[in-house]
């Protein structure tokens, strides 16, 4: 089952990389003009560039050549900077990854307690206030949140830098200051989404017999919520948050743009505008691979969270 799904997802990966290769190569404009600049377009130079980049080969041949190299970890070189694409990705991916992970952690840290508390007293005052607030938060897109935070924390209070990035290895404190606002902007919508999801599932779980049993044994509320109710209620949350990591990876572009962070999103954006096909292909491959890996991981995690799934699989061989 898992193997079949993984195989299916790999075919998706291949299809995506081929389609983006095709699409980028069909774009108007000539690659060599962009590389050489408008002033150096003599025939000799153009021919040289075209043969170096194998631009005269048919598209499928070029795709297969690119794919073969990619499988060995060589994603080619940027048309502009001549930098190895793999190096550039390795250099920039950690920024995006940190942004996404910090944002995810923020969202989960807020939404898990909120979801549990609202489910425990569903219909109560806290529940009504939180439900109303999450509805409002769903209507605040990331860029709006980002502007709000920039205004509040950077312009008015001056607590955080409005733009820029300090690497984790350089100065962890500064690094946190540069990741805080972008991550929070991305987290807001997720806080609302996760809280609602967990609340819904938790309300259902709290009506199950094993919770009644735990309660009748006189276990304290926090223990019932944490040990007995949270795990069986976390499936939707797990799926959605995992799939969201995939979305955030690709979707961090705007936030990276707004806060001038040197992540893969911005790299992708710049590369598309410069027609730097190799860079675009490399980033698309990495992002799609991330999507695929996360999808498979979710399935594995299901089995970890729900022992019934494991035995069922065993029973079927």
């Amino acid at each position: 089952m898992l193997a079949a799904k993984a195989a299916m997802l790999v075919t998706v990966l291949l299809a995506v990389s081929f389609l983006s290769f095709l699409m980028l190569n069909l774009l108007p404009g000539c690659i060599e003009c962009q590389i050489l600049g408008p002033d150096n377009l003599d025939q000799e130079a153009v021919d040289k560039v075209r043969s170096e980049l194998r631009l005269d080969d048919p598209l499928p041949v070029r795709y297969v050549a690119w794919l073969g190299d990619a499988l060995t970890g060589d994603l080619g070189q940027s048309y502009y900077t001549q930098q190895d694409v793999s190096d550039a990705v390795v250099q920039r991916f950690p920024v995006t990854l940190e942004l996404v992970l910090v944002s995810m952690t923020m969202a989960l840290l807020v939404s898990i307690p909120l979801g549990m508390a609202t489910a425990y007293r569903a219909g109560g005052l806290l529940d009504r206030v939180v439900t109303g607030a999450t509805f409002g938060m769903l209507a605040i897109p990331g860029f709006m949140m980002a502007l709000l935070l920039i205004y509040l924390f950077a312009v008015e209070l001056g607590w955080f830098p409005a733009t820029g990035w300090t690497r984790l290895t350089e100065d962890p404190g500064e690094n946190f200051r540069s990741v805080f606002m972008p991550a929070l902007s991305l987290a807001m919508v997720n806080i609302a989404v996760f809280t609602r999801l967990l609340r819904t599932d938790m309300i259902a779980t709290l009506q199950e017999d094993h919770v009644l049993l735990a309660r009748s044994k006189g276990l304290p509320t926090w223990r019932i919520l944490l040990r007995h109710a949270l795990r069986p209620s976390s499936f939707s949350l797990l799926t959605v948050s995992a799939l969201n990591i995939g979305n955030l990876l690709g979707g961090a572009v705007i936030i990276e743009q707004l806060f001038a962070l040197p992540g893969v999103g911005r790299m992708l954006y710049d590369a598309i505008f410069q027609r730097d096909l190799m860079v675009v292909q490399g980033v698309v491959l990495v992002l799609t691979a991330g999507f695929v890996v996360i999808n498979v991981l979710v399935d594995v995690l299901y089995a970890v969270l729900d022992p019934r799934l494991r035995t069922r699989r065993l029973a079927h061989g």
Partner: protein, 307 residues
């Protein structure tokens, strides 16, 4: 689904989880009567706001508004309430109220057209493969997975480079990217509907597939999909704003809500109303769409889990 994570602009207006607006009914007995009445008021307020925005968008040319592209540099960055400019002016002295009204047009056209495209193509596809099942279903779902995994931004930037930054190009891409979501909703609903007795009865009477799909299944799938589409309207409005931040929305100087917010960023150090006023309008609109869509959706009970 979807929110594309809206905020995250994952250009996938339907990313899973985006719209977990579907709350299960509060299981615990809340004072049901009172809650219901309260919800009613909010529902009508939201509908009223949407009607107002739609009205302004349609009649913007005939309303007594300033020209949204008229620059008046001596009067730039006027605060709301200044004489002649009810909501103030932007960095080039253009009237914000007028730009909001004309921007509503762009937002609504993109949102409605993109949702319609996604709904018709995706919904149709979902119904057909959900009814036929088997290999057609498997292949289609695979193809939809490819669309889902495809970084929407690449598609969008590529198309914009090809066709130019037109309303049409943006609408088409956003619509296309949302096809998988509608297809999933429609397919899930079709799978259940086609098990029902009346479908069996129609088949027993010798009805052809086409007839069964059109007159038995379609009427039962349309409402859930449409209710879902309503929520997606808000996602698309947000998406336009996100694109504006990448400089990819409709060409300037045509006003859009997103580009107004994005332009306001440049003046954040001097004054906030440039970003704030359009933000509030966008917020209220998305909020209203969510409320109305959610209220309708809970009636038809489309659950994430059934996708």
């Amino acid at each position: 689904m979807a929110d594309a994570t809206a905020a995250t602009i994952a250009l996938d207006p339907t990313a899973p989880g985006s719209s977990p607006l579907d709350d299960a009914a509060p299981a615990v007995a809340a004072p049901v009567g009172r809650r219901k009445r309260k919800k009613g008021v909010v529902f009508w307020l939201a509908s009223g706001w949407l009607a107002f925005v739609a009205f302004v968008a349609v009649t913007a040319s005939w309303l007594p508004l300033a020209d949204p592209k008229d620059q008046d540099l001596t009067n730039k960055l006027a605060v709301p309430g200044s004489s002649g400019h009810l909501l103030g002016t932007d960095g080039l002295g253009r009237d914000i109220l007028a730009r909001l009204a004309f921007g509503a047009r762009v937002s609504l056209i993109i949102a409605i057209a993109a949702v319609t495209i996604g709904m018709v193509i995706g919904g149709g596809l979902g119904i057909v493969v959900g009814y036929l099942r088997g290999r057609v279903d498997a292949v289609t779902m695979w193809a939809l997975n490819v669309v889902l995994a495809f970084p929407g931004l690449v598609l969008l930037l590529a198309l914009v480079a090809y066709v130019g930054q037109s309303l049409l190009a943006i609408t088409l891409v956003v619509g296309f990217l949302s096809v998988p979501t509608y297809a999933r909703v429609a397919r899930a609903t079709t799978l259940t509907v086609s098990q029902r007795e009346f479908v069996l009865a129609a088949r027993a009477l010798g009805a052809r597939n086409r007839r069964i799909i059109l007159s038995e299944i379609l009427p039962n799938v349309v409402l859930p999909v449409a209710a879902f589409g309503l929520v997606a309207l808000g996602v698309v409005i947000v998406l336009e704003g996100s694109l504006a931040f990448l400089g990819l929305s409709v060409k300037t100087p045509d006003p859009t809500w997103g580009s107004m917010i994005a332009e306001g960023r440049r003046h954040l150090n001097e004054t906030t109303h440039l970003s704030l006023v359009p933000s509030i309008v966008m917020f209220l609109t998305v909020l209203s769409v969510n409320f109305v869509g959610d209220a309708l959706r809970s009636r038809f009970d489309v659950r994430e889990s059934s996708l």
